[in-house]
Subunit: 365 residues, 2 copies
């Protein structure tokens, strides 16, 4: 990222952009077009909504956390009618629930959903949902915020019929924030072509056309595209499956470790990308987060939205490995003890280590 | 940019964001609020148009090159009525022309203009234009795309009454693209509050509120904000006036050098940021650009928009100094000779060197 910047209209950058697009296609498991935007993931969510939908085409969003709520906020901002399946934080919507809801609202034109709801660490069964939609509602587009799940959780864009899949640079790709990605199916591109809602910076058709030729329609975040390309080389060199197996194992260790320490999981369908958990009733999440930082310099995330101040979250994406998981779990044990818990030291970390010693469970899919 | 990323919701990043905002205010010469967006400069242009204007509030754009045309494209995309003062490429609009046009269209609510039109290297006299608007049309907002002129050309946001001034990371700040900045006057903020056009990613009110507290409303391009802060420290350490004097001297040298070689300037009001020039009639711009790269590895820009293929452009912003100017001028002479020009070697570079040896002319203001 600190090399002299190639100019974004010159052949050197063109080769990098084209290679990064091909790498993204491998990670997204798609032959669809992929565009790279200079924006955070929310920009790509807005781009999907604004290019695909209009005040005349209602959507359905699954809202079970801060990022599900964001679909509703974006639709509301752009006056796109959007129904919601609202779940408690930590719950997932099933394919059957979604089927019933769309059946009652046959004018639904798109399903907006998270592959992993980051605020609760909850996975959606995109395979089952994709199959149901393709069979029962072939005219409904599936738009997936996969910002935290791409590269950490099985995701088959083409095989599962996902029309738009959104990723972001700062999650599994482990580079700084500032880039977002969207894969666009042929159906999605056809829909965009017939939709005349206003757009300029997030004009996906202009970007598709430019990026097929190795350019971007507007000036891209050059240093981040170069870093992305290197990150993709590394992921594909290691093997995507191996990277995801490692994330899954870290998640399983973390879950078994925190459960053995007396925490409880926020999610009834935990995603591999991030584990969210409630502290034992006698100790506050804020006190644990503060002690982890003071005693060990370890920064773990707290809650977002309705869960602010109530939970802890540990991510398993990017530059983290099993040793990091064991470190944070042992630090957690000591913090709990010092905060008055009657925890038996070694109980949580022991459970995690036993998970590592056993052959891994199959990944959630 | 390659340090481990601080989390964007933690105190370390908060301090950096606040310092960068204060630094930007010094460079923009303003006490107005400044927001930092994760986007290219075009995103900030769209943000200004979309937040300030609506289909009920007509604008007036000065269109004299690719970036002036962009105002019209953005307004057209968002169905905002926008009249144009269209000038030939290389010409600037005077305060008097703008005054007459607004007088004929008293419903005009904003003037959209470039401080420097990058495609032609032409400066607008923002001081005179600002004064005229404040006196004659106090209800008209002035929105300036200053992406290439901030840090290279005198710019007094507050003293000249400029309501919105837009900058970008990759020009005078000499860091990679991916960030854009907007200063917003009180009047601009009041206008945004009363305007209900759709926005989400580019919601400037949400950003103003969050960034006053050292946060961004959405995930920012963390590595670029850190780099921006370092770049601002360097510019302010050197002194903004000294940085601008150097750019002005480079521009004067380049102009005198290319004129002495038989080129002609595109602009009748050349800006310090970039010099655009036509080749002598017998030689094509493309041939010169190609030869500069092949013989010397020097990359100079070509034309954009209507000037594509017709001109050369040399930038004087960021990591360039006088020695670079002398290098490119001597390389240009050799290329001209080899392409069949009867140039006397030393004529162009000599003119540039004589400019350096003389006390500098006062800067264009």
């Amino acid at each position: 990222m600190i090399r002299p910047m190639p100019h974004h209209r010159k052949p050197e950058f063109r080769a990098i952009l084209l290679e990064a697009r091909e790498g993204l296609k491998k990670v997204f498991k798609t032959n669809n077009d992929i565009v790279i935007l200079t924006a955070s993931g929310t920009g790509a969510m807005e781009a999907a909504v604004g290019n695909l939908l209009s005040p005349e085409t209602p959507a359905l969003a699954v809202s079970a956390g801060k990022f599900g709520e964001r679909w509703l906020e974006i639709c509301s901002a752009f006056r796109i009618p959007c129904r919601a399946i609202t779940k408690n934080y930590g719950e997932a919507a099933s394919a059957e629930e979604i089927r019933q809801t769309i059946e009652q609202s046959p004018d639904t034109r798109a399903l907006l959903i998270q592959g992993c709801e980051t605020s609760t660490g909850t996975a959606h069964d995109l395979e089952a949902i994709g199959e149901m939609i393709r069979i029962s509602f072939p005219e409904v587009l599936i738009v997936v915020d996969a910002i935290t799940c791409v590269g950490s959780q099985p995701l088959e864009t083409d095989a599962w019929g996902l029309d738009v899949v959104i990723g972001g640079s700062q999650k599994a790709f482990a580079i700084p924030p500032g880039l977002a990605f969207l894969s666009l199916s042929e159906r999605a591109i056809t829909t965009i072509k017939s939709n005349s809602t206003p757009r300029y910076y997030f004009d996906l058709l202009k970007e598709v056309e430019a990026q097929r030729g190795g350019q971007t329609a507007l000036t891209p975040a050059v240093s981040l595209v170069i870093a992305l390309n290197e990150a993709l080389r590394e992921i594909l060199n290691q093997g995507l499956d191996r990277v995801m197996d490692e994330v899954e194992l870290m998640a399983q260790c973390t879950r078994e470790g925190v459960l053995a320490m007396g925490f409880s999981l926020v999610s009834s369908v935990p995603a591999p990308a991030v584990t969210a958990f409630y502290p034992p009733s006698s100790i506050s999440a804020a006190a644990i987060i503060q002690k982890l930082q003071e005693r060990f310099g370890i920064i773990v995330a707290g809650g977002q939205g309705d869960l602010k101040g109530k939970i802890l979250r540990i991510g398993h994406l990017g530059y983290f490995d099993l040793i990091d998981v064991l470190s944070v779990l042992s630090a957690l044990e000591i913090c709990l003890l010092e905060l008055g818990s009657k925890i038996e030291l070694g109980s949580g970390i022991g459970a995690a280590m036993r998970r590592i010693a056993r052959p891994p469970k199959p990944a959630v899919s």
